[in-house]
């Protein structure tokens, strides 16, 4: 097979939904054995393009070529027969089945006249596949016992098995991965990237979708940028930098990705002393001053979310105390923390932050109802005024206050949650992964908002797994490991290296333990 013929060529792909042109004449190419990143803001058309590639949607016009030959992909099954698979952000494995059962689900090898499942053969084949990927996963393990990273490996193995059964070699296999690193730790990401590199070496082609530009530059050979359903350009990863890509994505120059206006730091607003929660926290102490943004870094499992939840009264502190403006708090639940002037933007936006079926207005007003009601009766006009004010101030893009929040983009949803707290004039705002899954433009807006709040004297505590974000946004950076704050850096002295060393316990000379 000549290598100059692309493995995949999608040509002039258009797709319209009622009221929206999701894709307009988009060309997209993947070379054999290439890792190709697909980049764009939410709503740029990435997922529509991938749905067309994997047979979940039919294009209105355009053609798809595999190794130069035109193909039709009317269904996911047809995509699989052509060696094309997709690994979704939400993994689709069944937790109570074993790895082997998941890989061969619905296609179990049979034996005998009764067609009973040939378990030994199934596990032999599954294990052979896993060993070939060198991922150290036992085919007989139950999926629920695996980490997210390991589950992704299993998905990869399943994709390869499907491709092989369709008679396609590794060289004809194309796997699209949608935000595979968003739930991984730094180290797991590294392992995934190693796997991707070895797949590439074996001739497998990969499409990598991610919001994290630094990852794209670490792993991808080329990248294709989409904006508003149109192709903006294809670049070799070597010839552009993050700023170029951001410019291509948003169509404008972000003055600087992480602007930080220095605010005057006030007195201690929120303090934690020797916090334990009986599970993940083992003596965490910290101080956040008014007018200051404190970033908390750390690996997954270091206890960052536990810390936020304990500060906000979601979890009970078994030992230690939380102080607000020097006064010890007795937190029996989030309601107490809210009454004391705290707000919390949780990590899981849809599961913990939003009422997806309720309107923007109700989502913003829910914590301010006491002020917005008289004798228990709601004052809708007041609620409209309040919600309207914050929709304007935070530039929340919604057609109306009655719009269901589920119809908003991720960034606007996040702003709705932030608006909920701003409506209460909080003294302290805790944000757990505030920009996860949010597109670049909205991300900058959220960072700007945090800046503004700090400038107004709010104490801001931000947890983030993205080191560039922590470094760019914070005045001070705390690093957590094993349920404690193990290092503290000022804005000037923090580097990615030093933070990672502290977070992994690799030692070194970074920062003093408080």
């Amino acid at each position: 097979m000549p290598t100059d013929v692309p493995l995949l060529r999608m040509q002039g792909i258009s797709k319209a939904f009622p009221g929206v042109q999701a894709l307009q004449g988009v060309d997209f190419e993947v070379a054999p054995g290439e890792i190709h990143a697909l980049v764009g803001e939410n709503g740029a058309g990435k997922s529509t393009l991938m749905k067309i590639l994997t047979g979940a949607l039919r294009p209105d016009s355009g053609q798809i070529f595999l190794r130069g030959r035109p193909v039709e992909i009317p269904s996911p099954r047809a995509a699989q027969a052509l060696g094309i698979s997709m690994i979704h952000q939400e993994l689709s494995l069944i937790p109570y089945l074993t790895v082997g059962q998941n890989i061969f689900l619905g296609r179990e090898p049979r034996r005998g006249r009764l067609g009973l499942v040939d378990w030994p053969r199934l596990y032999r084949q599954a294990q052979a596949l896993l060993d070939r990927l060198n991922v150290g996963v036992d085919a007989r393990a139950e999926v629920r016992d695996l980490s997210i990273a390991q589950q992704q490996m299993v998905e990869v193995a399943k994709a390869l098995a499907l491709s092989a059964e369709a008679g396609q070699g590794f060289g004809a296999t194309l796997i699209a991965m949608d935000e595979p690193t968003s739930t991984l730790t730094e180290r797991e990401t590294e392992v995934l990237f190693d796997l991707m590199r070895s797949l590439k070496a074996a001739g497998v082609s990969l499409i990598f979708i991610s919001h994290r530009l630094e990852e794209i530059f670490r792993i991808a050979d080329r990248l294709t940028v989409l904006r508003d359903g149109c192709l903006v350009g294809v670049r070799s990863a070597a010839e552009v930098d993050a700023n170029d890509v951001v410019r291509m994505m948003v169509g404008r120059q972000l003055s600087e990705m992480y602007p930080r206006t220095n605010a005057a730091r006030g007195g201690a607003a929120l303090e934690a002393r020797n916090l334990h929660d009986g599970r993940e926290l083992h003596g965490a102490s910290l101080t956040v001053h008014s007018g200051e943004i404190v970033g908390v870094a750390g690996l997954v499992g270091a206890g960052r979310t536990a810390l936020a939840e304990t500060l906000f009264g979601v979890r009970r502190a078994t030992v230690g105390e939380v102080l607000l403006a020097g006064q010890p708090l007795r937190l029996r639940g989030p309601g107490d923390a809210i009454r004391c002037g705290m707000g919390f933007v949780p990590e899981d936006r849809k599961g913990q932050g939003l009422f997806l079926n309720m309107a923007v207005r109700e989502n913003i007003a829910i914590s301010s109802l006491r002020r917005l009601s008289r004798l228990g009766f709601l004052r809708f006009a007041a609620a409209d005024r309040l919600a309207g004010e914050f929709v304007r101030r935070l530039a929340i893009r919604t057609p109306s206050l009655r719009q269901r929040v589920r119809n908003l983009s991720g960034g606007n949803q996040q702003k709705v949650i932030i608006a909920r707290w701003l409506a209460l004039n909080p003294k302290v705002l805790i944000l757990d992964e505030p920009t996860r899954g949010v597109d670049v433009g909205a991300k900058a807006e959220i960072h700007g908002l945090m800046n503004q709040l700090a400038a107004q004297g709010v104490a801001v505590l931000m947890i983030s797994s993205e080191l560039p974000e922590v470094l760019g946004v914070s005045d001070r950076i705390l690093v957590m490991r094993a349920g404690r704050i193990v290092a503290e850096f000022s804005r000037g002295e923090a580097t990615e290296d030093a933070i990672m060393r502290a977070a992994t316990g690799a030692g070194g000379n970074g920062g003093a333990a408080p």
Partner: protein, 328 residues
């Protein structure tokens, strides 16, 4: 409502499709009701006679009142299977206290309502404090309350009720049956509470996403406790009305009524997953059930077959709910 910000909704097509489906869902219930009415008007002799229509209203009203309490529970994502037994227990208690213990009728009824509230509180505590799934907790209460009724009545009906009971069950005000008036009252009150008060929004918030509600400062536990108490009270009201209507308390009264009380809101578009629907739908759902059983009676369909038909209608309603949910 003003549009404070310019651009269009980001995922318009999906939203439009969903809106369409929801509109269809909302009006489909009404259409189904009209369709059933039309069918019986044509094929059931005497269906449209005013006296019969009044009778339909009477039959519907008691179920509707119980279903209104149930609506609150289902809106929080819960379920109350004990309502049929609570109806029997409160009816028997009210009747027994009035006839055997010689309490004034109003006092006897008040005690019965308090007992209904207490049973509801027990349900709520099991769910909130004990962490027992509502299905299991209220299934246990279903059995316990029925057992208490049988013990209290020794398995025999209690008759010879004071006039207040009979008036509640069969009396009229300005020509309108009292239970129908009470249903209207309960419906309006429930609508106001759900749509106009803080508590109502907390009910929707709890059912919409309990974790979000908790983090937003709502107390889902308090809300849940309250809705089970409310359901206990409406079931007790229903039980007293039924006793009055039958002019006696039957130990086996209202057996299986939990199905109707759950089917009414579900038919009316209250989602079993919580957070979606309203009391208007519940009343229409109860009317569908009432019209169906009245019409089938007029057509002399045996009550055995009616049970089968009712079950099938319920399954269809749940399937419609699931189909709507899946598209959300």
């Amino acid at each position: 409502m003003t549009a404070p910000s310019a651009s269009a909704p980001p995922r318009a097509p999906a939203a439009a499709r969903r809106r369409g489906l929801e509109t269809l869902r909302r009006y489909s219930v009404l259409l189904i009701l009209l369709g059933i009415v039309l069918f019986f008007a044509l094929s059931a002799p005497g269906f449209l006679r005013p006296s019969n229509l009044l009778n339909v209203g009477l039959q519907t009203s008691i179920i509707a009142i119980v279903a209104i309490g149930m609506t609150f529970v289902i809106l929080t994502g819960g379920i109350d299977l004990s309502v049929g037994s609570v109806m029997a227990l409160s009816g028997a208690l009210a009747a027994g206290l009035a006839t055997r213990q010689g309490l004034p009728a109003a006092a006897a009824i008040a005690v019965a309502l308090l007992v209904g509230a207490a049973v509801g509180a027990a349900n709520g505590l099991m769910v909130v404090r004990g962490g027992i799934p509502p299905f299991v907790a209220t299934l246990a209460t279903l059995s316990i309350a029925r057992g208490l009724t049988l013990v209290y009545t020794e398995g025999k009906p209690i008759a010879g009720l004071p006039p207040l009971f009979l008036w509640l069950g069969n009396g009229r005000v300005l020509g309108i049956p009292v239970p129908l008036l009470l249903m209207a009252l309960a419906g309006i009150a429930a609508w106001v509470v759900l749509r106009q008060t803080r508590f109502g929004l907390h009910v929707y918030a709890t059912g919409g996403n309990e974790e979000t509600a908790r983090l937003a400062g709502v107390s889902p536990r308090a809300v849940k406790l309250a809705v089970y108490v409310l359901s206990g009270v409406t079931a007790a009201v229903g039980g007293v009305l039924l006793t009055g209507r039958l002019a006696s308390a039957q130990p086996n009264a209202a057996t299986g009524w939990e199905l109707d009380a759950i089917a009414a809101p579900v038919l009316g578009g209250v989602s079993l997953f919580g957070g979606v629907g309203g009391v208007g739908g519940t009343v229409i759902g109860a009317l569908i059930i009432g019209v169906l059983s009245n019409g089938l009676n007029l057509m002399r369909v045996s009550s055995y077959y009616q049970l089968i038909i009712k079950g099938a209608v319920f399954v269809l309603a749940v399937m419609l709910d699931l189909a709507t949910q899946r598209r959300r």
